[in-house]
Symmetry: C2
Subunit: 142 residues, 2 copies
DNA sequence: TCCGTTAATGCAAAAATTTGCGCCAGCAAA
DNA sequence: TTTGCTGGCGCAAATTTTTGCATTAACGGA
């Protein structure tokens, strides 16, 4: 266990059942510095619980994402996840050439977000947004 | 044919082979006002060319997207496409509750884009970005 | 018009993700 | 501790999208 006990107790307090599968997924994502692929979470989870199903991994990850506990990053057509750091929230820029990931503080998106809210009444959910493009190095090569 | 001849001749001039499949996909997307799902493009294309493969549809759509001819919109876990309107470019906001789509002129994203470029040397490709969130009506209901 | 090059297709399979359903187990209350 | 409710899980299948490979056909040049 590495510092996600608060998340666990908060979830339990909200009435969610904390199954071994969920604890395992949470533990795996929390342990990792940086993002993990869904398949990778599955493989690691199976070391502890050999019977755990991939569908459960996906369902758990989507659930945690919806609750703001984890953040989704799309890297080359695959979903990755990392612990949402509420003390240091950030978005991601992913280079489509090298799949490199850079982070971005949300204030870069703040004005944009506010305008959508004010002018359209649309509440964007930008927590899990991934900005695609080309990074500095890859652009230099071309 | 409905006004995408210029795209066709431009593509041909660039050395791409304009196969019946490609013309068909282009025709289907151009005819439609608004977005089409990949599966829908396939079904329509098969009316003309019964043997056309779904993989070809996907490949063609990705190809056109890369060339800026069509724009991708992600609606509820499915890819949709529409003709890129260079006279009136826009992005999309999709409500995760009702799957409704609203459009957005790119100047809403312009400042954000410039900052990424200037401060990180990262060239974002925002042409095909889909902003998820909740629309006015759905928020009112909740 | 015919030919050669090679890009694009069809086909089949894989990869990635989601969903329906019946059973099981987490957890609160007795 | 036992029980009951029901949310969550495993399983299997479906969906959606991508990929490898052999064959085909677009199109410029002879």
């Amino acid at each position: 266990m590495s510092g996600h006990e608060s998340a666990v107790s908060r979830l339990r307090a909200q009435g969610y059942r904390m199954t071994p599968q969920r604890l395992s997924v949470l533990d795996i994502v929390a342990r990792r510095t940086g993002h993990v692929g869904a398949d990778e979470v599955w493989n690691l989870a199976r070391e502890e619980h050999p019977y755990v199903d991939l569908a459960t991994i996906y369902r758990t990850l989507q659930w945690l994402k919806g609750l703001g506990v984890v953040t989704e990053v799309i890297i080359g057509n695959k979903l990755h996840f990392e612990m949402a750091d509420h003390h240091n929230p950030h978005n991601h820029m992913v280079c489509s050439v090298c799949d490199g990931v850079q982070t971005l503080t949300p204030d870069y998106l703040a004005e944009f977000s506010q305008r959508l809210e004010q002018e359209f009444g649309f509440s964007p959910n930008l927590d899990n947004i991934t900005i695609g493009g080309m990074c500095n190095q890859c652009r230099a090569v071309t």
